[in-house]
């Protein structure tokens, strides 16, 4: 799973570079977004377990 996410991050960054952007600020935002997704997913799982 982590490989897929890493590949997505690297590919998005590559596209930014190809478009001529430096990509650093965008990369920081992408990392924040991916981390938030992981937390939300874990939070949803915890919620589902507690409901069951």
């Amino acid at each position: 799973m982590s490989r897929t996410v890493a590949e997505e991050i690297a590919t998005t960054f590559k596209q930014l570079v190809i478009k001529g952007k430096s990509g650093e600020a965008e990369l920081e935002k992408i990392l924040q977004l991916e981390f938030r997704k992981l937390i939300e997913k874990a939070g949803a799982e915890v919620g589902r377990k507690s409901r069951n």
């Binding site: 982590s2 430096s22 650093e24 990392l31 981390f35 939070g43």
Partner: protein, 658 residues
């Protein structure tokens, strides 16, 4: 296509100067020392490359004297002036640098720092500098001029996030160990409590079997024992309730703290927005700008336009004078100059001289009008930008104020709930304390009754002492159990954003994240290496091509190693390759020229400018001639502006086009 370079107060040149260059030509700038050759190089370098942020471009900028080691452009400004200006216009496109002492320079549009590494060949260029020092390490070429540089920066960002994640993971793992130890200790204490309770019950059974002295006493004794059991049971239940209430309060407290932090954050955001709004130029300042815009529009531009119209009139006068001179020479030999009103022009040459002077003046006036129009547009743009920014900030401020007001009401409500929850705990704690006291008093009463129930011997006294001790131990074990339960409840959950996560789940999330980041770093490193290898390959192809085109027959091959990025030189097939430090000074200069042309063609061919200081072409004449003819061909083929400065004995700086 023409390129006009207009400069004011740059380097040795005080005041204004304008230079014209032609594309598809080798533009040779000739002058004696201190007449502005270096100033032209500096001006072109500055307007095409600044601002520089990274090495080695910043080092080249410092060596060229276009900025100091802190990136300030003060070294470029003439020592007798406080500000300077550079403008390069090519085919209607303008690039400008506004420089002021001890102020950040205003460069529009921003240049590309790679130009310093590709488009300038002088004693200060990175390639010349490295080869002179005998260094064969050309890793900087592939790192700075390929996309690898961007990947390296991205790797730095991800590695920083990875390190922070690893630190957080370490902290979580320590907390998990601590919580596991607390759980084990809780279990151990629970077992100890059960064993102590059993022992207490045994002691009480033994005490109950003590011989009876009177039925009344026995009745009281039994009643007290029943009471004690009931109260203890009640107290156990009560402590369960207290524990669950405390857990609730602790969760609530965390929520309240988060809410307080969020409210504080919103307050700070609002203060920042208000501060930014205060820093905005006042209406008076904006009015001043507007009057300056009007002044430029209504006064300055029309005045210069009038002057231009006059100049155009003079020009047409001189044009007709010249044309008349061609036809009726004798009649027009004596004319009065319409500019000064005095001079009587007697020769065709003088008329032509006046004509050229007026033409030059007209071109200066046109530039001035263009520069004033630009200034007016800049002011208008800045005003619109500021007004937009102000409106956006006002909107943010309103939304923050609403957000803050919501948070504050929520905080008041939650504080009230928290206080109510705390208050509801108080009667439970009071009841617990009361029960404890009652139990102690029953225990004392039972103790005194038991003395009366039997004539106590040493064995009985020991039983009662033991009973007292066990009760004390039970009390302290209960306290420790409560403390550990609180610790476990506090530490086993963490709030991240909107989610409350059990610490084990959080640990899993951080482990996954750490693996993702590590894989991302590996992927970006692979891509950076690929970019570097490809850049080296491209560079090597260009070198090979140039070796042949420039007829560098004394070198069989020159190439960058695609793994180490070290420069290798092979003189003859079958021989060992050499490193740059083994070359002679003139060979180093020749190689620097070749490599600079290869770098320019490989990495920045889209930029039309190539600036060469002829000082570096310090090698045999036939080779210099070959390079000059190649440059002339290259300029035509690519439509480049190749500008070469040359030391000469001419009186004034002059540009010739080859």
């Amino acid at each position: 296509m023409d390129a006009n370079l207009e400069i004011r107060n740059i380097g040795f040149l005080k005041g204004n100067a304008v230079f014209s260059f032609r594309s598809a030509k080798l533009n040779v700038v000739e002058a004696p020392n201190r007449l502005g050759k270096s100033t032209i190089i500096k001006s072109l370098a500055a307007v095409l490359s600044l601002p520089c942020k990274t090495d080695p471009a910043s080092n080249v900028a410092a060596r060229l004297g276009i900025s100091d080691s802190f990136g300030n452009t003060d070294p470029m400004i003439n020592v007798g002036a406080n500000s300077a200006f550079i403008e390069l216009s090519v085919d209607g496109e303008r690039k400008t640098c506004d420089l002021e002492i001890k102020r950040a320079s205003n460069i529009s549009p921003k240049g590309d720092e790679r130009f310093l590494l590709t488009g300038i060949l002088s004693e200060e260029s990175e390639i010349t500098h490295r080869l002179r020092d005998g260094s064969g390490d050309f890793g900087w070429v592939v790192a700075s001029l390929s996309l690898a540089d961007k990947y390296e920066k991205a790797i730095f960002v991800v590695e920083k996030e990875l390190n922070e994640t690893k630190l957080k993971l370490e902290e979580i793992e320590k907390r998990i160990v601590h919580l596991r130890q607390a759980k084990e200790r809780l279990q151990h204490i629970g077992e100890e409590k059960d064993a102590t309770t059993m022992k207490l019950e045994n002691i009480e059974a033994k005490i109950a079997k003590l011989p009876s002295k009177s039925p009344e006493l026995e009745k009281t004794w039994n009643t007290l024992q029943i009471q004690e059991r009931e109260k203890r049971k009640r107290r156990d239940n009560l402590q369960g309730k207290i524990m669950s209430q405390k857990t609730g309060i602790s969760t609530y407290k965390k929520r309240l703290n988060t809410l307080i932090a969020e409210t504080e954050f919103s307050k700070r955001e609002l203060q920042n927005a208000e501060k930014k709004l205060k820093e905005f130029p006042s209406k008076i300042e904006i009015d001043n700008w507007e009057s300056e815009i009007r002044r430029v529009e209504v006064d300055e531009i029309p005045t210069i336009r009038e002057e231009r119209a006059r100049a155009e009139g003079f020009l047409s006068f001189f044009e007709s004078a010249i044309s008349s001179l061609q036809g009726k020479r004798a009649n027009i030999y004596e004319i009065k100059c319409p500019v000064c009103g005095k001079t009587v022009l007697k020769a065709a040459g003088e008329v032509r001289l006046h004509y050229e002077e007026i033409q030059h003046r007209l071109s200066a006036l046109n530039s001035k009008i263009a520069s004033l129009t630009m200034r007016k547009n800049e002011l208008l743009n800045r005003k619109t930008q500021l007004e937009d920014e102000k409106a956006r900030l006002e909107e943010t401020k309103t939304s923050l104020r609403a957000q803050l007001s919501r948070k504050e009401s929520e905080l008041v409500r939650e504080k009230r709930n928290f206080e109510a929850l705390n208050k509801s705990l108080e009667p439970l704690l009071d009841e617990d304390e009361k029960l404890e006291k009652e139990l102690m008093s029953i225990a004392n009463e039972l103790k005194s009754l038991s003395h009366q129930r039997a004539k106590l011997g040493a064995e009985e006294r020991r039983l009662f002492e033991e009973r007292g001790e066990k009760i004390q131990v039970l009390n302290s074990l209960q306290k420790e159990i409560t403390r550990l339960q609180e610790e476990l409840s506090d530490g086993s959950v963490e709030r991240i954003g909107e989610s409350f996560l059990p610490i084990e789940d959080l640990n899993r999330v951080y482990k996954d994240w750490s693996q993702t980041l590590q894989t991302t770093v590996d992927l970006l490193k692979e891509e950076a290496s690929r970019q570097k290898r490809e850049a080296a390959k491209r560079f090597n192809e260009k070198i090979k091509d140039l070796l042949w085109k420039l007829g560098f027959t004394d070198f069989e091959d020159v190439w960058l190693d695609e793994e180490t990025y070290n420069l290798n030189i092979l003189r003859k097939k079958g021989q060992r390759s050499q490193v740059p430090s083994s070359l002679s000074t003139s060979e180093k200069h020749a190689l620097a020229t070749l490599l600079q042309l290869a770098v320019k063609d490989a990495y920045m061919p889209e930029n039309q400018f190539l600036v060469i200081d002829e000082v570096v072409l310090d090698f045999d004449r036939s080779r210099v001639d070959k390079i000059m003819s190649y440059l002339s061909e290259l300029a035509k083929e690519r439509d480049w502006f190749i500008i070469m400065t040359r030391l000469s004995d001419v009186e004034q700086l002059q540009v010739t086009y080859m």
